[in-house]
């Protein structure tokens, strides 16, 4: 589903954020990307929806090469990828319902469909009763769940999450992870960047470890004491 071949990203100024990363993530797989901050986790995730273009190598999403994807096709690529951010990236002047409905509005879904699917997504993250509230009135964990509802409402085949639990306490983080596992069970391919090894260690999913922009370990995570 996601395939990287020798992908490198060099920022202006000569700093290499990624060096020759090659990996394959199968359809329906859930993988974590770990590493210290600055190891290239965020850059890796940003290359997939073409928020940035790699300087070397090539990326294939569902067997489509992103190398020569024209600018006008980028929105369609992004509609197939749900993105969850550490800072939520919600529209603070719109109620929860409007925030979650945004991907459907952008895709031009019919009006009745929007209401039904937004409520289904909010129900799954447990925020059905908060649809009229504004994001600022919600707790950080609730805001993150609004972000997750927005990412999944259009049922994209791929979900990317960049430090989704970065600001949350362990209990809330575990809850969010369980939510992700449930989406994964529905067949969504997921790539989650996180530095929280204690949290992801015991989940038993594939773990990609980046050090200084290079992929150094690719294996199943186990319950190791760190």
């Amino acid at each position: 589903m996601i395939r990287l071949d020798g992908v490198g990203k060099r920022y202006p100024g000569g700093k290499d954020a990624l060096r020759g990363v090659s990996l394959r993530i199968a359809r329906g797989e859930l993988a974590f990307v770990t590493g210290h901050s600055g190891a290239g986790k965020t850059t890796l995730l940003r290359l997939i929806p073409l928020l940035e273009r790699p300087t070397r190598g090539q990326i294939l999403i569902a067997n489509v090469s992103l190398t020569r994807l024209p600018r006008r096709r980028i929105p369609l690529l992004r509609r197939g990828i749900g993105m969850i951010f550490q800072d939520h990236r919600l529209l603070n002047d719109r109620p929860v319902f409007d925030n979650v409905a945004l991907p459907l509005i952008i895709a031009g879904a019919p009006h009745r469909e929007i209401g039904r699917r937004v409520r289904a997504a909010l129900d799954r993250v447990g925020l059905l009763d908060k649809e009229r509230q504004y994001p600022v009135t919600l707790s950080s964990g609730e805001q993150q769940r609004v972000g997750i509802a927005r990412a999944v409402v259009a049922r994209p085949p791929i979900l990317l999450a960049d430090e989704p639990t970065g600001n949350l306490d362990p209990e809330l983080s575990a809850e969010i992870m369980r939510l992700f596992e449930r989406f994964n069970e529905l067949g969504v391919t997921m790539l989650i960047a996180s530095h929280d090894l204690t949290l992801i260690g015991c989940l038993g999913h594939r773990r990609l470890t980046l050090v200084d922009g290079a992929l150094v370990d690719d294996g199943l995570g186990g319950c190791r004491e760190i």
Partner: protein, 291 residues
């Protein structure tokens, strides 16, 4: 991105934008309307001067009548009037105040005259051609027409019209810049929102649309305001203008902007608003990319 909501949320600044556009549109519109009114006034006021054909004195009344008929049959002539030497003398007595002096005359020195009124739609060049054609008729001794007055008036009107169009173009550019700037600020204010919708797959067209609508609405609001301003000006000036015209014995009334004029103003406003927002969107929206 519900841009209608955005518009109603900051009515103050939007009203100010509409005000600037309204005034910028109302100024040239009212000047052009004024010029229109002057044109109507001068045509109603014998705008096409009468040409006086002084005929050879030897002609008798029958010959004069035949000639008048021939001239009257021309397509470029609306009306002819024969002034016999007797009528001429009579008019002179009544108007000039030389009553006593005229009684001293042994015989009537006045020639028969045909007054010719050229058709109102003729251009000065066509009037000239008509006069030249009449002047070479064998029975015509002399022809008189205040052609210079007509020419000068036309020249002044053309000059004014040209000047108004220059001002109108400049004000049109002003409207484009004002709308462009408003939209640019709007884009800056909503930068985060634009980034987020682009992140989740909004096309450029989707992001552009509400700003174009917003520009269109600014332009239309300005156009409505311009219509109101021009019409208010018309209502305020109509009374005094009619009184002034009344003093000259005319029943002249100022013409308002009318339906087609209002429509044109609205159309201009909408068009300029759209162009302004298009320019702003083209320059600033593409530069905003998710980071």
């Amino acid at each position: 991105m519900g841009s209608l909501g955005q518009f109603t949320r900051s009515p103050g600044s939007n009203l100010m934008t509409a005000g600037v556009i309204g005034i910028a549109l109302a100024l040239p519109a009212s000047f052009l309307l004024l010029l229109d009114n002057i044109q109507i006034l001068t045509t109603g006021w014998q705008g096409q001067p009468h040409a006086s054909l002084f005929l050879k004195r030897a002609l008798d009344a029958g010959q004069v009548a035949t000639l008048a008929q021939q001239i009257g049959a021309r397509a470029s002539v609306t009306q002819v009037r024969i002034i016999t030497p007797e009528q001429g003398l009579q008019e002179l007595r009544e108007l000039s105040g030389f009553r006593d002096a005229l009684t001293l005359l042994q015989s009537n020195p006045l020639p028969p005259v045909i007054e010719v009124e050229p058709r109102g739609t003729l251009t000065p060049v066509q009037v000239d051609a008509l006069i030249d054609a009449l002047a070479v008729l064998p029975s015509v001794e002399h022809i008189r027409l205040d052609r210079d007055w007509l020419r000068r008036l036309h020249a002044i009107m053309q000059l004014l019209q040209r000047a108004i169009w220059i001002v109108a173009s400049l004000l049109g550019v002003t409207v484009i810049l004002v709308v462009g700037n408003t939209i640019r600020l709007d884009i800056e204010n909503r930068r985060d929102e634009i980034v987020i919708v682009k992140l989740i797959g909004a096309t450029d067209a989707f992001v552009r649309r509400p700003f174009l609508y917003s520009g269109l609405r600014h332009g239309l609001a300005g156009g409505v305001l311009a219509c109101l301003l021009v019409e208010t000006g018309h209502l305020l000036l109509n009374g005094p203008a009619s009184r002034l015209a009344g003093l000259y014995g005319s029943r002249f009334e100022l013409t308002g902007i009318g339906f087609s004029g209002s429509f044109t103003l609205l159309g201009c406003g909408a068009f300029l608003g759209l162009v302004g927002s298009w320019l702003a969107v083209g320059r600033h929206l593409i530069a905003i990319e998710p980071r």
